[in-house]
């Protein structure tokens, strides 16, 4: 027989009863919370209504500011939430005039001062009892002290209070990452000129992995909102001996430029879009940087510089030894729009497919001139991969049906090489879907290409393709060789 040690049975029963009771208590907890919340809500409902009415009156001007402020000062803790809600923390942001009023209100009610003290952990100042209790509670529970500081940083950012940047900059070195992150985001919102170097310094720290680290993306998000004039602060970083520092600084400048490029602009970006020392660094130093990542970013930046040295630098990068530098250069040229087609044409036979693809895209983006260049290249080259890339680009731009239509135009001049060449190099499958209602695997379907009625019904896939149709080489019949190949395809 087995004997259970003395007392274990009682212990087991005690555990069972205790945990059963815990289940019941836990199940009742939300009910109690609900009841408490309901009672509190009912008590504060009228107060909230009065505060809302007061704030609404201040915002629409129907209530005198001083009178409203006096009323609101009587219930500072409830007002805080109401103002934050109005500031658009939970909903869409208010308009500029209302925003200014709310900002003034938050300052006059002492909210901004309180948030700054919370962020700096200065709790010695007098504050309402409820807030004091909350602070003590949060500070004393290990691991929770950061919550108040992070919220204070977020609130200051939401309010875009310029005078708060020093305390936020200091919070970039807070022991908790959530506070550092909230402070960086807040600085990005406030955009105080003096805070840019502080953020740049943190970016350098992040690059070198020293000090209290912050996410590089968070820092980028904060920095890219600033005006490009502040990039002067990057001059030192762009010459830093460590490649990662130079790379991240260049990367932020790239993002800032692309952000500006995405916005509606006049005809072109201003001539001196970057401060001269920074522009010089990109043109003279970073475009020939020993690190390929930096050179790649340099290509993205210098394309925006209205300088005589821009094109030679980009063309040099287009022949870089690293494929992704060539890729960035090709994309940069595509963005620029003005470039010698032959230079990019060389990249159609690049060893790396992504460069070939970027080159084909850049060339086709030049419009009819670029498309004709691609067609000519297709005809002239023996490089299989290059030909495939051209075909793919024509597919992507929706030009295959257009080419077929052009091909079918009677008396339009010389025989178009493209269709015949496609068949000759075994790319006839591309043409098959262009024939309407043809069974996919019907080998004879391509013969129907000769049927003019069908071809006339083809519609270019995109408006851009439609615009290019008239200038494409077209007309005539397939050569006998081409037709034979077509039948066999």
């Amino acid at each position: 027989m087995m004997n259970v040690p003395y007392g274990w049975t009682h212990f087991a029963w005690a555990l069972a009863v205790a945990f059963s009771a815990l289940v019941v208590l836990l199940a009742g907890f939300p009910l109690v919370m609900r009841a408490v919340r309901f009672a509190v809500d009912r008590r504060s409902e009228s107060l909230r209504a009065a505060i809302d009415w007061c704030i609404a009156g201040l915002l629409d001007g129907s209530l005198d500011y001083d009178t409203g402020l006096r009323s609101l000062r009587e219930h500072p803790q409830c007002v805080g939430r109401a103002v934050l809600d109005r500031l658009g923390k939970a909903t869409a942001g208010p308009d500029q005039e209302q925003f200014a009023k709310l900002r003034r209100l938050a300052i006059d009610l002492g909210m901004v001062d309180r948030w700054r003290r919370e962020l700096a952990r200065q709790f010695s100042q007098p504050m309402p009892r409820k807030l004091r209790v909350r602070h003590k509670l949060f500070e004393r529970i290990p691991g929770l002290g950061f919550v108040m500081r992070a919220e204070a940083a977020e609130n200051l950012g939401l309010l875009q209070n310029q005078a708060s940047w020093p305390v936020l900059a200091k919070a970039l070195d807070d022991p908790h990452p959530a506070v550092r992150s909230a402070a960086a985001r807040a600085l990005g919102r406030i955009k105080a000129p003096a805070s840019f170097p502080a953020l740049a310094r943190k970016l350098e720290d992040a690059a070198l992995g020293r000090g209290a680290t912050l996410s590089v993306r968070t820092l980028r998000m904060a920095l890219v909102g600033f005006d490009l004039a502040y990039t002067r602060a990057f001059a030192e970083m762009l010459q830093h001996p460590h490649w990662r520092v130079r790379f991240l600084a260049a990367d932020v400048v790239t993002t800032m430029l692309s952000r500006i490029g995405d916005q509606p602009q006049p005809e072109s970006l201003p001539r001196h879009i970057l401060p001269d020392p920074v522009a010089r660094l990109f043109l003279n130093s970073l475009s020939i940087d020993p690190n390929p990542d930096v050179r790649a970013r340099a290509a993205d930046v210098i394309v925006h510089l209205n300088d005589i040295r821009t094109m030679p630098a980009l063309l040099a990068l287009l022949d870089d030894s690293e494929w992704f530098v060539r890729l960035h250069a090709a994309r940069a040229l595509a963005e620029c729009g003005v470039f010698p087609l032959e230079a990019l044409g060389r990249r159609l036979t690049d060893a790396h497919w992504r460069v070939r693809e970027a080159a084909a895209q850049a060339i086709s983006a030049r419009g009819p001139e670029g498309i004709n260049f691609l067609l000519a290249h297709f005809h002239a080259t023996d490089d299989r991969y290059s030909r495939e890339q051209v075909v793919e680009q024509l597919e992507r731009t929706g030009l295959i049906p257009s080419l077929l239509t052009a091909f079918d135009e009677p008396g339009a001049g010389e025989e178009p090489p493209f269709i015949g060449e496609m068949v000759r190099v075994g790319r006839a499958a591309v043409l098959r879907p262009a024939v309407p209602n043809a069974p996919e695997h019907d080998q004879d379907a391509l013969v129907e290409l000769q049927d003019r009625d069908q071809l006339k019904n083809r519609v270019p896939a995109t408006p851009a393709a439609a615009a290019q149709v008239p200038v494409l080489a077209g007309g005539g019949e397939l050569s006998s060789l081409g037709l034979e190949e077509l039948r066999r395809a």
Binding site: M1, M2, V4, W8, T9, A12, W13, L15, A16, F19, S20, L22, V23, L26, A27, F29, P30, L31, M33, R34, L84, G88, K89, A90, G143, L144, V147, A150, E151, E154, P177, A178, S181, R189, A206, T213, L214, S215, V216, R217, T218, R220, M221, V224, T255, S258, R259, D262, E388, Q389, V391, E392, E395, R396, G398, A429, V430, P433, A461, T462
Partner: protein, 473 residues
């Protein structure tokens, strides 16, 4: 003989005690950890607007990769839902994994797809791709039709075409909330360490009203089986995954809905067909790959990005699903047994893997044996029941405590099922799930272990109520 039986029982008692203590300790730690984590997350992010991230030019582009095999009833709505996700420059890549129904045809008709002949570049080996389609109305949509090769193969084929730095896997029978991707991305953007995989919460779609590919109204399902699963999902996602994520021991990120860094996944070899739970296997392999290559990366879980998934509404499908999960768990743990107690993996190697092996995988067998032995013990020595009964009661109470705590956490934080109403409706199911439902799942889990031991590897498709049917309801 009788003495040998007693010795065996004593030994088994010791095993049970270890299992019991590991389970109680582990789940208790997870409960505390997840309560803190969810509460903090909710407090920190409840009022924070996602607009800043959406407007930012540093938000990394994302492609949703949606594998589909015979999903003709749901595919069009699923793609519409994916296209409607609120994230700048979102792209969608649907992979038709050789469907034998009208999945592809319906896509072609609904989105006016036209075939294109793009160059195939296979960084990951997959079954042959038949065709690629693009839509003139939705330029951000790409549809890929390939020969059937399973979900991992379909995802790999999609991955070969993805150009964005991040991709989100999404099952065709899932509905993504509009702000789910920015919420997932928030974690990636704010983390100083590279996040290779970011997962969110999966909730039960059954009972909800679906309109135009989005959940229009959240309701609880009608049947008890589905409601038990609602409680189970809440416990699993709010507790288990949040807790493990906080401790740095995430083993599972649901492949139904997860965000991955493309290059990292490709360099790690893509999704594997070795196991029937490719999502779990990928997470473990990413960690191993990072350790082997001296990389520092993180797998993160957030409780607020939500994806709605239809759960099985009958026992047959539930059995298939749970057997597969258990089989996949065993396969993954077995495949990576070298990572156990390896200092290079920290909490993951020392706590997470052993816990999952002992409590989640082997635990099924131990628990089943425990149930079987109680009558035997009663026959052997009725006096022992005086001890075993309160112990059993304690174990049931502890189990109920975990479920009720998950419901309370849901009630105090997200309240997706309505304030109080959802809590009160689900409370009886949280208390009763230990009387029948848990034992039922135990049978499926044991069957999963048996399949693992016998070398069964086939993927069983789970057919359940579709969002289209929910919309019709």
């Amino acid at each position: 003989m009788h003495s040998l039986g007693i010795d065996a029982l004593i030994l088994f008692n010791a095993v049970l005690a270890v299992y019991f203590l590991a389970g109680i300790g582990g789940y208790g730690a997870l409960m505390m950890s997840s309560w803190i984590s969810v509460w903090l997350h909710k407090r920190r992010h409840s009022t924070e607007t996602l607009q800043e991230l959406r407007d930012s030019s540093v938000a990394p582009p994302v492609t949703i990769v949606m594998p589909a095999w015979n999903e003709q009833d749901v595919i069009v709505d699923a793609v519409r839902g994916a296209l409607g996700v609120d994230y700048p420059g979102i792209q969608v890549c649907v992979v038709d994994d050789g469907s034998s129904d009208e999945t592809l045809e319906r896509l072609i008709a609904a989105f006016e797809l036209a075939p294109v002949n793009l160059i195939a570049r296979h960084r990951l080996r997959t079954r042959p791709v038949r065709a690629l389609y693009v839509s003139s109305s939705f330029p951000q949509l790409l549809v890929l039709s390939k020969e059937n090769g399973g979900k991992s193969d379909a995802l790999n084929a999609g991955l070969n075409t993805v150009r964005t730095p991040y991709f989100c896997t999404l099952d065709a029978d899932c509905i993504l909330e509009r702000d789910a991707i920015p919420r997932l991305m928030r974690r990636i953007v704010s983390d100083p360490v590279n996040v290779a995989a970011s997962g969110g919460t999966v909730r039960v779609l059954n009972g909800c009203t679906v309109e135009e590919g989005q959940v229009a109204k959240v309701n609880l399902p009608r049947s008890a089986l589905e409601r038990f699963q609602v409680v189970e999902y809440l416990r699993s996602f709010l507790f288990g995954r949040t807790g493990w994520s906080r401790m740095g021991g995430t083993l599972i990120i649901s492949g139904a809905f997860a965000l991955f860094h493309r290059e990292t996944v490709i360099e790690a070899g893509g999704l594997s067909s070795d196991t029937v739970t490719e999502d779990m296997e990928l997470i473990v392999r990413l960690r191993r790959w990072a350790s082997d290559h001296g990389r520092v990366l993180r797998t993160a879980f957030s409780s607020d990005p939500v994806c709605w998934v239809a759960c099985p509404d009958n026992l047959r499908m539930l059995g298939r699903q749970r057997r597969r999960w258990q089989l996949g768990l065993c396969q993954t743990l077995w495949k990576n047994w070298k990572m156990f107690f390896d200092p290079a993996f920290g909490i993951f190697g020392w706590l997470s893997l052993p816990f999952h092996a002992l409590v989640e995988a082997l635990g099924a067998v131990v628990e089943a044996a425990g149930y079987l032995l109680i009558p035997f013990v009663a026959w052997l020595d009725p006096a022992l029941l005086n001890f075993l009964l309160p112990l059993l009661l304690f174990s049931l109470a502890y189990s109920a405590l975990l479920s009720v705590a998950a419901l309370v956490l849901e009630e105090l934080t997200y309240r997706r099922y309505g304030a109080m109403r959802g809590f009160l409706t689900l409370l009886p199911y949280a208390l009763l799930e230990n009387f029948g439902y848990r034992q039922l799942l135990l049978c499926y889990r044991v069957a999963g272990v048996v399949r693992f031991l016998t070398g069964f590897r086939r993927w069983e498709k789970v057919v359940h109520v579709s969002p289209a049917e929910l919309a019709a309801d």
